[in-house]
Amino acid sequence: MIAIIDYGSGNIQSIKNALDYLKVESTITSDPKIIESADKIIFPGVGSFGYMMDQLNKKQLIKPIKQSIAAQKPFLGICLGLQALFEESEESTNVKGLAIFKGKVKKFTKGKIPQIGWNTITPQNTNNNNNNIFSKGYTYFVNSYYVIPEDKSIIATKTNYFGNFTSAIQYKNITATQFHPEKSGEFGLKLLRSWLKC
């Protein structure tokens, strides 16, 4: 069973709809026990970095998330769910992230902000993960911020928005995307299918 972590923000029904469509059992939950017992974890994030971390604290979700990751369960972070894995963000400067990876979250400085629409992800062959699930194609983005990992070998894809930025990472059991696979049409569904097979 897949646990979709709900910290009380935004439209996370769409990821559930996509999994239903793919005929995969999942549940939207904020119950630490259900998260602990799940086989796979999806962490979709919407809202602001500070609000998200605050809610994760209040709902006591930080420990179960970190434990799931440490237990090598397949973990998929989406959008803010990617940014949460890093140490800090320019969006909420005095808030600490989950700090699974070293690095920061920065705001775009060029172009219209947020970036809204379809942009190309390009897989990086420098990625350490030998099971890279990404291929080149258009995916749907809505973001003002992007991650800068200190360890470049975790970068799985890059995308150009007035300069290249990291649009997905992969490291052991952790996969996380800045774009929304659940809103990226057939290409996104294919990607979700590949992740589900991990």
Partner: protein, 256 residues
């Protein structure tokens, strides 16, 4: 780079898509889910559903439609028409809409924009602006905002209004030229250009889509981030794919 978006717009009445001309002689054009699937298959980048009845009893049928679409279509979609409260927005987003488009209610109650953006995030708040060109000298071109499906002039300048809604937290602007709407004579690229340059949020050009060239021009001359079209797709003048193939040949970046 970010691709320019092609967005078919579907008018919905009593849970059915309707076609008509200038809101008259409406005929049934089918099931919203089936049409959404069709456009999705053709390569639409997003879909906009416009509830053209927007009566209270119709709210519920729209929610049901949104739920059905969200279970089958995995591209972003926006719902507009008759949205006037935070509760309306909450209901549509929890049913599966990715964004809502607010028009008259934003003008009548500007606090709604701020409250909506703070509650749900700017990314899902689209402000629709219906603008009509004012008569005057070319060098002092200006446009006036109209509300209630273009029936009531507000005296508000469209450019000032666009800047205002951005400052209040709007995530995108859906800009319709009333002069061009339904004419198929091309978008109002002067209007789109002036607004797209003045704000730092995406602008969706609407009203006037006709030839393939008119769509190319709204990107090149109007500086639009996305182009909305209704009748050219409804009447199968072009498929979304044909539009994109044409644009690609004209060096406009589109998703294939």
């Amino acid at each position: 780079m970010l691709a320019k978006r092609i967005i078919p717009c579907l008018d919905v009445k009593n849970n059915r898509v309707v076609k008509g001309k200038n809101f008259e002689n409406l005929v049934d054009a089918g099931n919203p889910v089936e049409l959404a699937k069709k456009y999705n298959k053709q390569g639409a980048d997003e879909l906009i559903f416009l509830d053209i009845t927007a009566s209270i009893e119709n709210r519920k049928t729209i929610i049901e439609m949104v739920k059905l679409v969200a279970k089958q279509i995995f591209i972003p979609f926006t719902v507009g028409g008759g949205i006037s409260t935070i509760e309306d927005i909450r209901n549509l987003l929890s049913a599966g809409a990715d964004k809502v488009s607010i028009n008259s209610a934003a003008v009548k109650n500007i606090k709604l924009i701020e409250e909506a953006a703070n509650t749900f995030g700017s990314q899902c708040i689209v402000i629709a602006i219906d603008a009509k060109k004012k008569i005057g000298p070319k060098e002092k071109e200006s446009w006036e905002v109209y509300v209630n499906s273009g029936k009531i002039p507000t005296g508000i300048d469209a450019l000032e209004w666009a800047k205002k809604v951005e400052s209040l937290g709007a995530g995108e602007i859906l800009l319709t030229s009333m002069n061009k709407d339904g004419t198929k004579s091309g978008y109002d690229n002067d209007l789109t250009n002036i607004i797209s340059k003045a704000v730092n949020i995406p602008v969706i050009a609407s009203g006037g889509a006709g030839t393939l060239k008119s769509i190319e021009e709204t990107f090149k001359n109007g500086k639009a981030d996305a182009a909305l079209a209704a009748s050219i797709f409804h009447y199968d003048t072009y498929t979304v794919k044909q539009v994109k193939t044409y644009l690609k040949n004209k060096q406009v970046e589109v998703r294939e």
